[in-house]
């Protein structure tokens, strides 16, 4: 098991390097660099910026050096916890990341759990009762889940929340709790504001999860051990839950790998619509005002954490399925 974990952690290294290169491209690609942006904004506010000042800023941020040198220094700084500086917030990027990134990841992970809670029973029922009304309904629902962009679902559900229930789901807290000290009422308020985002983000994952679970379970139900279990006289419920469902859920854990990136991305967009204080609005504003160290840092952190989440799910899968642990069959 330890060997397996070590092997998987080593494969993480090239992926992390690629992530850092892409995030660096986010910082480098846009026309103009941020020193010229900074000088422009200094000049606009009426300050005199001389040649030597431009030179000082340029060399301070290493912009006179070739790109690969800048990349190396960006990465080494990052490894020491320095993600650069956000001039829009006038704060170090890591301070903003430390506040916002955990929220995005928390909402994404909670949505993942919610997606499983919703999809597991639906997936099992629609596989056992294949081609029944429930099966068709769940197929249709999962298609809608796949075809609806998160932001649109957020708009529609927020519309109903405002007009029907009369509750404004914007932000993480209501106005009166915004600066209030921690209390049970504040926690309850947070919970109320989280219902909608979790539901919206989770629903995109639910569609995928239902379809994977249904397909896997249909495959398993055809196998002979199911017949054996039945022949032994187990009740239909035991036949189902004891073997095939356990087998069908395994691949579901491995779907974290491709569901989690979608959920994190979905959270970013949904939080823009519902103005949740997570990474979404920050990323959007950073992109719009070319605050690129912040944008690159967010992409870097979200991607890294998503990849680590996938790694953890692989390890969990190996713990559940000895065939994978011992490096035998790989699906």
């Amino acid at each position: 098991m330890l060997a397996f974990i070590i092997r998987r952690v080593i494969t993480l290294v090239p992926i992390l390097i690629l992530i850092s290169i892409v995030s660096f491209a986010v910082i480098e690609l846009p026309p103009g660099d941020w020193v010229s942006f900074r000088i422009e904004s200094l000049r606009q506010s009426g300050l005199q910026v001389g040649e030597d000042e431009i030179y000082r800023l340029t060399s301070q941020y290493g912009l006179d050096k070739p790109a690969y040198v800048r990349y190396v220094s960006w990465v080494t700084n990052m490894l020491q916890g320095d993600f650069g500086y956000s001039f829009q917030w006038n704060e170090p990027v890591n301070k903003i990341l430390a506040e916002r990134v955990p929220r995005t990841m928390a909402i994404s992970l909670m949505s993942l759990v919610l997606a499983w809670i919703i999809s597991t029973p639906i997936g099992i029922i629609s596989a056992v009762k294949q081609y029944s009304a429930i099966d068709y309904a769940s197929t249709f629902l999962s298609f809608i889940g796949l075809a609806t962009p998160g932001f649109l679902l957020a708009l529609i559900l927020a519309y109903f929340s405002i007009t029907v229930i009369g509750f404004s789901p914007l932000g993480l807290f209501s106005q009166q709790y915004l600066d209030a000290p921690f209390s049970l009422a504040k926690l309850l308020d947070l919970g109320k504001h989280l219902v909608l985002p979790l539901l919206i983000v989770g629903l995109t994952g639910t569609g995928v999860a239902i379809r994977v679970l249904r397909a896997n379970l249909l495959d398993e139900l055809k196998k002979q051990y199911v017949v054996t279990a039945r022949a032994k006289g187990l009740s239909e419920y035991q036949v189902l839950m004891r073997y095939p469902v356990r087998m069908a859920i395994n691949p579901l854990i491995s779907t974290i790998g491709f569901v989690l990136p979608g959920l994190v991305g979905g959270e970013v967009v949904v939080s823009i619509v519902l103005s949740l204080e997570t990474t979404g609005p920050v990323l959007l504003r950073a992109v719009q005002s070319q605050d690129l160290y912040l944008a690159g840092g967010i992409v870097m952190m979200l991607s890294t954490l998503t990849v680590i989440g996938t790694l953890l799910s692989d390890i969990a899968l190996a713990a559940l399925d000895p065939r994978i642990r011992f490096g035998g069959v790989r699906k």
Binding site: V22, L146, A147, G257, V268, S303
Partner: protein, 387 residues
Amino acid sequence: MSAQTLNVPGTPAPIPVDPQAQDKDDKFYYATQWNLIWWKFKRHKLAIISVFLLALLYLSAIFAEFVTPYNVATRFEGQQQGPPTPIRFIHQGSLRGPFIYAVKRKADPKTFKFIFTPDETKPIPIQFFSQGDPYKLLGLFPSSLHLFSTGVGKTAPPVFLFGTDRLGRDIFSRTIHGARISLAIPIVGVALSFLIGVVLGGLSGYFGGVVDEIVQRLIDFLSAIPQLPLWIALSAALPRDWSTEKTFFAITILLSIIGWTGLARVVRGKLLQLREEDYALAAQAAGAGQWRIILKHLLPGFTSHLIVSITNGIPAGILAETSLSFIGVGMQPPAVSWGVLLQDAQNLVSVAQQPWQLIPGLFVIATGLLFSFVGDGLRDAADPYTR
């Protein structure tokens, strides 16, 4: 699955019971692969209906100027933020052709909200194939013929099927026009992904070894990171003052940079699998060259699977374009796309008051659904030999 490909000619035909069944079986055994796929696809009613509706949607997008009563930029003074105009059939108790009532806008003195009251005394008939805003069909033929309208000029009370936006423009006309960009971006994007996917997937599956390893790690990487934040961040590289065409092209490239992985996977997997088939060996023994084997013998074996992946890639493209444009980093006004139209719905308060601004979003969902249904039907039909 495709191991069965070989079995088909060798399978003994069932003992003939009646001549008609014999005919049917003969037809099945001698049919080409594409005929089989088509027969199987035809049985998928939902997919057939979806193909039909999608064709209708694409046709109306191409002939948007004719289908819609007004041009995208036509503003109607005094009709801002108006609700959809109801199409009526009964005027003062008697049935007549489709007509509308003219609508007057007034501000409520207390709430400052606009109230729209129909003038129920005078019915205004809807005219079909009538004259209206001039345009150039397909950008070539000048015309002013519209499928329907309520008459020429701005004096005639206008008909707004989906209501109007805050500048008094017809949302129906804008939605159909917006379909052009929203429906074209995924197609062009998928075409580009297809190119990258087939080349890289082909190289990876054909050469194996180091090339395979590199391409596989690249795919792992691209599918392991959250795409939307990356898209948002990369869109910072698009200058705001670019023309519509340039932005359009840049977005499709952005989409395909990430979207090719699915296709590459299918190509590689199928190449690896088919390479081991007996008929590939037979072709090799007969002295066929590598490229001939790939193009002539292996490629037809998974063309149907490629089509499935392409169909499944399109909804993702639509979602990406609308999401990016909606949050303001994709297509920019004055370009019209579904995402751009939905920008107006960004303010939740205005959505609560004018829910018809969400109608372009229904088109997004419907199109995604239709493509999913077609993809589902194709997936079932792609392996026509499993009966």
